[in-house]
């Protein structure tokens, strides 16, 4: 399997070359082109656990998270192109199996099918934040693709760092985190428009994005006529 990330920057996409018999998994709907030999299967299934229940769990997590599996069938190689919905960058993380990665809400784009996917719903902590505190947890050794709204910056954390909830792309689970307020008091924090932030602790890799898609959506939505509820 070879992965090439094309058009880095505003409109990045990933082209995955599959050898015969290989498979790749992505968020459903991300596929925009494929050679005819590739078999596409849309399921709610993740490797290991999953099935329909897994899909429902993902729906409850606030995201219709269904997966497409691309399989180079019939003993021939093939290619598949996947792209995120929003403008922005795509990045490959080569997981070595020593740590788990957590991808924020819409940041998970795809992964080798040898990786195990699960969802983590942030429950009360998530509800409080008002953000989709829904993580895709990725485990194993293999390639992981994440997408961002804007550019991706990587920070190697050793100690503590604070990131706005809307700017988190993905992080290693060797980092612990808590959702907390940005300012000195809750009131000041909300009035200042910073809302909630994630405070990371420990040592590990953290990917952040330059722009907050939720903020952009809110801006656009306010300019559009109301929809039927």
């Amino acid at each position: 399997m070879q992965i090439a990330i094309e058009d880095r920057g505003a409109f990045a996409s990933a082209i995955i070359q599959l050898d015969a018999g290989e498979s790749f998994v992505s968020e459903s709907g991300a596929m925009y082109r494929t050679s005819a030999e590739v078999d596409v299967d849309v399921t709610t299934r993740s490797k290991g656990k999953g099935g329909l229940f897994g899909g429902l769990k993902r729906l409850l997590g606030g995201e219709s998270f269904f997966l497409s599996t691309y399989h180079a069938a019939g003993g021939v190689a093939g290619e598949v192109g996947i792209a995120p919905t929003l403008p922005g960058d795509v990045m490959q993380v080569d997981m070595d199996g020593s740590t788990r990665w957590l991808c924020a809400g819409g940041s998970y784009l795809g992964s080798g099918d040898e990786l195990t996917l699960d969802t983590q719903f942030q429950g009360l902590r998530g509800m409080l934040s008002g953000e989709k505190m829904f993580f895709v947890s990725v485990e194993g050794a293999g390639p992981l693709l994440v997408s961002a709204y804007g550019v991706i910056r990587e920070a190697a954390i050793d100690g503590e760092v604070i990131v706005d909830t809307g700017h988190v792309v993905a992080f290693e689970d060797t980092l612990s985190y808590e959702v907390t307020k940005a300012g000195g008091s809750w009131l000041r924090s909300f009035l200042g428009g910073e809302g909630l932030v994630m405070k990371f602790r420990g040592s590990g890799r953290l990917l952040v994005q330059s722009h907050n898609s939720r903020a952009f959506g809110a801006k656009l939505g306010a300019m559009l006529p109301p929809r039927q509820g």
Binding site: R33, F66, P226
Partner: protein
């Protein structure tokens, strides 16, 4: 005519310098800036009927502008409505464009709308533009453009193919191999034969779907 495409693939614009008397045809509304002696005649190229057909069938603009440099060389910049890339294609024969992808052409290129839907796919509005003639043709995308040389069969998600050569046969079809209880109706473009297809890396429709949940919700009528 000299031309250059700058700021691609994210925010491409086309800058052209016309020789005296030389013309360039553009989609109406695409002009961003120009010299004062580059003048226009807005017309329904090919007559009103042709123009109406383009508008109604393909979502392409009814009017196309013809720009002419009067007396001396003049510059004009054209910018598409969406952020993305522009491809300059040296047309000699035919090329198919996804509706809305036409940006500009030199005279000698004609643009016509063509319906190629299958029965039952009317709602999907599978109308395309057929460009014929000889000369430079400029088309644009939302997102970056990738050129794929097909030899055999290739599948592109509906709404992502920007342009393709007539040597390819194409078919809008339900995704046969895409098995799903959710997306049974997913439409794809299936190309076969030998030729080049240009594919954009983002879809305006998918983006619109993404924005939709952010719209305010209409309050119930209280009467």
């Amino acid at each position: 005519m000299e031309h250059r495409i700058t700021n691609g693939p994210s925010f491409a614009i086309l800058e052209a310098t016309l020789e005296p008397g030389e013309t360039l045809v553009s989609e109406s509304g695409a002009m961003a800036w120009k010299d004062t002696h580059v003048v226009t005649e807005t017309s329904t190229r090919g007559g009103v009927l042709q123009g109406l057909k383009r508008k109604l069938l393909s979502g392409e603009s009814f009017f196309q502008n013809t720009w002419r440099a009067e007396g001396k060389p003049g510059s004009i910049a054209l910018a598409p409505g969406s952020a993305g890339d522009i491809i300059a294609h040296d047309l000699d024969g035919e090329l198919f464009l996804e509706k809305g992808a036409f940006l500009a052409s030199c005279e000698g290129v004609t643009v016509d709308a063509k319906f190629d839907g299958l029965k039952g796919f009317f709602n999907e509005g599978f109308f395309i533009l057929k460009c014929t003639g000889k000369g430079l043709l400029f088309f644009h995308s939302y997102g970056a453009i990738e050129a794929v040389d097909v030899d055999g069969e290739y599948i592109v998600d509906n709404g992502y193919a920007v342009a393709w050569e007539p040597s390819l046969s194409y078919k809008l079809t339900r995704a046969r191999k895409i098995r799903s209880f959710l997306f049974g109706d997913q439409l794809i473009l299936r190309f076969s034969g030998k030729g080049r297809v240009w594919i954009q890396t983002r879809s305006p429709r998918v983006k619109a779907n993404w924005v939709h949940p952010f719209r305010p919700v209409q309050q119930a009528n209280r009467n």
